[in-house]
C-alpha cells in the first residue's frame, strides 16, 4: 500500500481550501448585497470555515487514497465518503502517461495516468507522486505486464524446449549483423563486435532483455522545433488573442479603429456611414492583425509544448517526452497500434516536413483532452517520418507479415515528389473525376447560400448591400479549390493495409492495417447519389476517429465501393485466421510460416485452446519485440548496446 506524495496533499489542500473559501466569501457577499440576508460580517465567519472544510476534505482524501502495484494488477482505493476500489489487470493497461505541469515539476512531483482500451476516460490517475516513483511505475508497468505474459508463455514453450527461442534470438542477431553490412551503415562498432559471439551476447541479455532494449527513434532538433513552431497553426490558438482584451486590448482596438474613422461607441450603425473602401481596409486589417496574433500565440504554445521532444523505443513500446515548462511523457504499446497517420499541412508540404500520429485503441497519445494535436512525432523531415511510420507499422504486426507483404515490393510507385518510401506513400488512386465537378458545385452552392444570408442581413441591418457581392467575387476560385480538394484525396489498397488520404490545408494520410478493421461502412449522401458516388469508411477501434479522423475513401463508384467493402472483409478474415493459426501453432518466431499455409487450410483447432485470444496476445508481444528488432537494428544505427 502506497500513498501519494505529501507535497501533493499540501497542494491539493491549499487548492481545495481556497476554492471552497472563495466560493463562500463570494456567496455570502452576494447574499448580503442582494437579499440583505446576513451582513458582510458573515463572510468573515463563513469563509475561513469553508477554507478549513476544503482543507480537511483534501487531507482526508489524501489519507484515504492508496494504491498498490502487484504482480498482476494495479489496485487503487479512493474516496472519502463513498469508497471505490479499482483493480486493473496490468496487461490491460495500454498507456502510462506521466505529466509534470510547471508547478508540480518545480516541486518534483508528477501525475501518472493509466489508460485502458475501454472507455474514453482515464482509468486511474495518481495525482501526484514523486518523479522517481512515476518513473518506476512507467518502467515497471509496461515491460512488467508483458513479462508476466511472457512467463506464461515460457511455461508452455518450455515443453518444446527453450533452446528454440535461444536459437531464434541468435539468428536474429546474425541477420542484423548481415543487414548492417549490406546497408553499409558505419556506426555501432560495438554491436558489430558483440555479434561475433552471438552466444555470449545472448547470455548477457537474457536476465532482462527488455530493460536494455532501448533505442532513440526521433529527436526534434532546434531547427526543426523552430520550423514546427512557425508552420503549425493550432486551432486552440484562435481563441487566445481575445484573452488579451481585458489588459488594454480594448483600448488598442478602439484606437486602431478610431484611426480608420470608426467609433465603436456609436455602435454598428455608424458603419453604414463609411465608404466601402475604408470598411474593407478596416476589415482586412483587423483580420490580418488577428491572424498574426493567433500565429504568435501558436508559435509560443508549440514551442513550449514540443521543446526537447524525444521518441524512444523501449522494448515493444514507444515512449515520448516533451515540454519546456511542464514536462510530459507517455507510452504507446506497439502491439496495440490501430492506425498510423502522416499529417502535413500546406506549409509543411512546401518545406518537405511531415508529422506522424500513432493511434491506439481508446486513446490518442498527445491528444490531451482534445487540446493538443494528435501527433506522436510533431515534425520531421518527410522521408524520416515515413521511415518511422513504416517501422511502427512493421512492429505493430507481430506476425511479421508487414515486412513480408509490402516493405520493399512496391518501389515502382512514385509518391508526390518522393519515391523513397513506397508503402506509406504510395501512388494513390483518385476519386472518380466527376467528383471534382461535385466539389465545384458544392462550393458554389455554399457561396450562394452565404451571399443570400448576407443579402438578408443587409435588409434587416444597415450593412451596405454591396457586401452581399463579396462571396460572388470568390466564385471564380471554386474550380481551383475543387481541384485542390480532388487532388489531395485518394486511396490505395495493399495486401496488408488500406491507405487513405484527404485534406488540402491539413493533409492526412492514414494507414489502416486490415487486421485492425472493426466495421466497414459505405455512405452515400443524397448529393452523392445524384452523382452516382459513394464513400467507404474503414473503421478501427482507434480513438482518433471519434474526433473525425477516420480513414475514408471518398467518392468512388458504388460498385467499386462494394468491391472494396467485400475485399476488406475478406482480407480481414483471412488475416485473422492466419494470426489465430499462428497463435495456436505457437511458432511466431518463424515469421514467414504463414506463407506456406494456403487459404483452405482447415482451422478447426478452436476448441484446443480455451482462449485463443489470450494465447495470441501472449505470443504477440514477444513476437513484436523480436520482429521489430531486426529491421530497426539494420536500418538505423544507434541501438545503444550499453
Amino acid at each position: 500500500m502506497r500513498r501519494l506524495h505529501r507535497l501533493s496533499a499540501v497542494l491539493d489542500a491549499a487548492q481545495g481550501g481556497l476554492q471552497l473559501g472563495s466560493a463562500a466569501l463570494f456567496g455570502s457577499f452576494v447574499l448580503a448585497n442582494e437579499t440583505g440576508f446576513g451582513s458582510g460580517d458573515l463572510a468573515f465567519l463563513l469563509a475561513p470555515a469553508a477554507f478549513l472544510l476544503g482543507v480537511a476534505y483534501q487531507v482526508a482524501y489524501y489519507y484515504r487514497f492508496t494504491y498498490e502495484l502487484t504482480d498482476e494488477e494495479l489496485i487503487v482505493a479512493s474516496g472519502v465518503v463513498g469508497r471505490q476500489k479499482r483493480e486493473i489487470p496490468l496487461e490491460r493497461i495500454q498507456n502510462v502517461d506521466v505529466r509534470r505541469p510547471a508547478l508540480k515539476r518545480a516541486l518534483g512531483l508528477a501525475v501518472v495516468n493509466f489508460e485502458t482500451a475501454g472507455g474514453s476516460s482515464t482509468e486511474a490517475t495518481l495525482d501526484a507522486v514523486d518523479t522517481a516513483e512515476a518513473d518506476r511505475l512507467q518502467n515497471e508497468i509496461g515491460p512488467r505486464s508483458r513479462r508476466s505474459k511472457s512467463t506464461e508463455r515460457s511455461s508452455t514453450a518450455a515443453v518444446t524446449g527453450g533452446a528454440a527461442s535461444e536459437r531464434g534470438r541468435a539468428d536474429g542477431v546474425d541477420e542484423s549483423a548481415t543487414g548492417e553490412s549490406v546497408t553499409g551503415t558505419t556506426d555501432t562498432p560495438d554491436l558489430q563486435g558483440t555479434t561475433d559471439t552471438p552466444d555470449s551476447q545472448g547470455a548477457a541479455h537474457t536476465p532482462d532483455p527488455r530493460e536494455t532494449d532501448e533505442e532513440l527513434l526521433y529527436e526534434v532538433s532546434d531547427h526543426e522545433l523552430r520550423v514546427l513552431s512557425v508552420v503549425s497553426f493550432r486551432p486552440g490558438a484562435f481563441a487566445v488573442p481575445f484573452v488579451g482584451i481585458p489588459f488594454g486590448g480594448e483600448e488598442m482596438t478602439r484606437a486602431l479603429l478610431g484611426r480608420l474613422g470608426i467609433d465603436l461607441r456609436e455602435g454598428v450603425r455608424s458603419l453604414a456611414a463609411l465608404d466601402v473602401l475604408t470598411l474593407g481596409v478596416g476589415a482586412v486589417g483587423l483580420l490580418v492583425s488577428y491572424l498574426l496574433a493567433v500565429w504568435m500565440v501558436s508559435i509560443a504554445l508549440t514551442y513550449l509544448q514540443y521543446y526537447d521532444f524525444r521518441l524512444e523505443r523501449v522494448g515493444d513500446e514507444l515512449r515520448y517526452e516533451r515540454g519546456l515548462i511542464g514536462r510530459y511523457s507517455g507510452t504507446i504499446p506497439l502491439g496495440k497500434v490501430q492506425t498510423v497517420t502522416v499529417g502535413e499541412n500546406v506549409l509543411m508540404r512546401r518545406l518537405g516536413y511531415a508529422a506522424l500520429g500513432v493511434e491506439t485503441a481508446g486513446y490518442a497519445p498527445g491528444a490531451n483532452g482534445g487540446s493538443g494535436s494528435e501527433t506522436t512525432v510533431p515534425l520531421g523531415a518527410r522521408d524520416r517520418v515515413l521511415t518511422l511510420a513504416q517501422k511502427v507499422l512493421a512492429a505493430s504486426d507481430d506476425t511479421g507479415r508487414y515486412e513480408a507483404s509490402e516493405t520493399f515490393d512496391e518501389t515502382t510507385d512514385v509518391g508526390e515528389g518522393d519515391d523513397s518510401s513506397p508503402v506509406v506513400d504510395p501512388a494513390l488512386s483518385s476519386p472518380e473525376p466527376r467528383a471534382r465537378k461535385r466539389y465545384t458545385r458544392r462550393y458554389l452552392i455554399a457561396l450562394g447560400l452565404l451571399a443570400a444570408a448576407i443579402g438578408t442581413a443587409t435588409v434587416v441591418t444597415t450593412l451596405p448591400t454591396a457586401a452581399a457581392a463579396v462571396p460572388v467575387v470568390l466564385a471564380p476560385l471554386t474550380p481551383v479549390a475543387a481541384r485542390l480538394k480532388y487532388r489531395h484525396r485518394g486511396y490505395h489498397e495493399t495486401a496488408w493495409s488500406l491507405v487513405t488520404r484527404a485534406g488540402f490545408w491539413r493533409r492526412r494520410t492514414r494507414i489502416v492495417p486490415v487486421f485492425r478493421l472493426q466495421n466497414v461502412l459505405i455512405t452515400r449522401t443524397i448529393f452523392q447519389r445524384r452523382w452516382g458516388l459513394a464513400s467507404v469508411t474503414a473503421d478501427t477501434a482507434s480513438s482518433a476517429s471519434i474526433v473525425g479522423g477516420e480513414a475514408v475513401i471518398y467518392d468512388v463508384n458504388p460498385e467499386r465501393a462494394d468491391e472494396i467493402r467485400v475485399s476488406l472483409l475478406e482480407r480481414l478474415n483471412a488475416a485473422l485466421a492466419e494470426r489465430k493459426r499462428a497463435a495456436l501453432a505457437g511458432e511466431t518466431d518463424e515469421e514467414f510460416e504463414w506463407v506456406g499455409d494456403a487459404e483452405g487450410a482447415t482451422d478447426t483447432d478452436e476448441s484446443a485452446s480455451e482462449s485463443p485470444g489470450d494465447v495470441s496476445e501472449t505470443l504477440s508481444t514477444d513476437g513484436a519485440a523480436e520482429s521489430s528488432e531486426r529491421p530497426e537494428d539494420s536500418s538505423v544505427g544507434p541501438s545503444d548496446g550499453a
Binding site: 482500451a117 496495440k336 485503441a361 487486421f515 485492425r516 478493421l517 472493426q518 466495421n519 466497414v520 461502412l521 459505405i522 455512405t523 452515400r524 449522401t525 443524397i526 447519389r529 469508411t537 473503421d539 478501427t540 477501434a541 482507434s542 480513438s543 476517429s545 471519434i546 477516420e550 462494394d562 467493402r565 472483409l569 480481414l572 478474415n573 485473422l576 494470426r579 489465430k580 478452436e606 482462449s611 485463443p612 485470444g613 489470450d614 495470441s616 496476445e617
Partner: protein
C-alpha cells in the same frame, strides 16, 4: 425503391411494418414538445418584436416536424434491410444519407435486445450489436418482433463466439 436489391439481387430481411408507427409516434412526441413551447410562451404573454406569435411559430414548426417525421418513417422503413452473411452482419439504412455497414462477426463484442416503452406498446423489440469500433460502435436493428429479436441475438452471439478473436 424496394428494399434489399443491393448485393447481387439478394433480398434483404425487412423490418416489421409496425416500426413505422414507432418512428412516427416518437417524432410526434418531439413535435408536441415543440408545440408545447409555443403554448407556454403564449400563456406567459411572450411576443417577439417582429414576426408571428409564438403559437403560430412553434405550431408551424411542430407541424413541419410531424409531417417530416411521418414521411421519413415511411421512407426509412422502405430503405431498411439487414442480412446475416457468411462472415458479417450486413445492414442498409438511411433516408438522406444511405449507409451500408458490414459488421464482421469477429468484431462483435456483445449483443443486446432492447425494448423501449413505445416499442413495447406496439409489441416490437430492437437488437443492439456492440463492436469496439469508434464509429457506429453500437448498431441497432429496430422493428423486430420479440421472438425474432431473440433469435437474431442468439444467432449473432453464436456467430460471434464461433469466430472469436481478441485483437484490440
Amino acid at each position: 425503391m424496394p428494399p434489399g436489391d443491393q448485393g447481387g439481387g439478394v433480398q434483404l430481411q425487412t423490418l416489421h411494418p409496425r416500426v413505422r408507427l414507432v418512428w412516427a409516434v416518437s417524432t410526434l412526441f418531439s413535435a408536441a414538445f415543440v408545440a408545447g413551447f409555443g403554448v407556454v410562451g403564449d400563456r406567459l404573454g411572450v411576443a417577439l418584436p417582429v414576426g408571428p406569435s409564438p403559437v403560430t411559430l412553434f405550431g408551424g414548426l411542430a407541424a413541419v416536424i410531424a409531417v417530416l417525421g411521418v414521411v421519413f418513417a415511411v421512407l426509412r422503413y422502405r430503405v431498411w434491410g439487414y442480412e446475416i452473411r457468411d462472415d458479417s452482419l450486413y445492414l442498409v439504412r438511411g433516408v438522406l444519407t444511405r449507409r451500408v455497414s458490414s459488421v464482421p462477426f469477429v468484431r462483435v463484442q456483445h449483443v443486446d435486445t432492447r425494448r423501449g416503452p413505445l416499442e413495447r406498446t406496439v409489441g416490437l423489440a430492437s437488437v443492439v450489436v456492440y463492436t469496439a469500433g469508434s464509429r457506429g460502435a453500437d448498431i441497432t436493428v429496430p422493428g423486430l418482433t420479440p421472438d425474432r429479436a431473440t433469435q437474431l441475438r442468439e444467432r449473432l452471439r453464436e456467430l460471434a463466439t464461433e469466430s472469436e478473436y481478441d485483437a484490440v
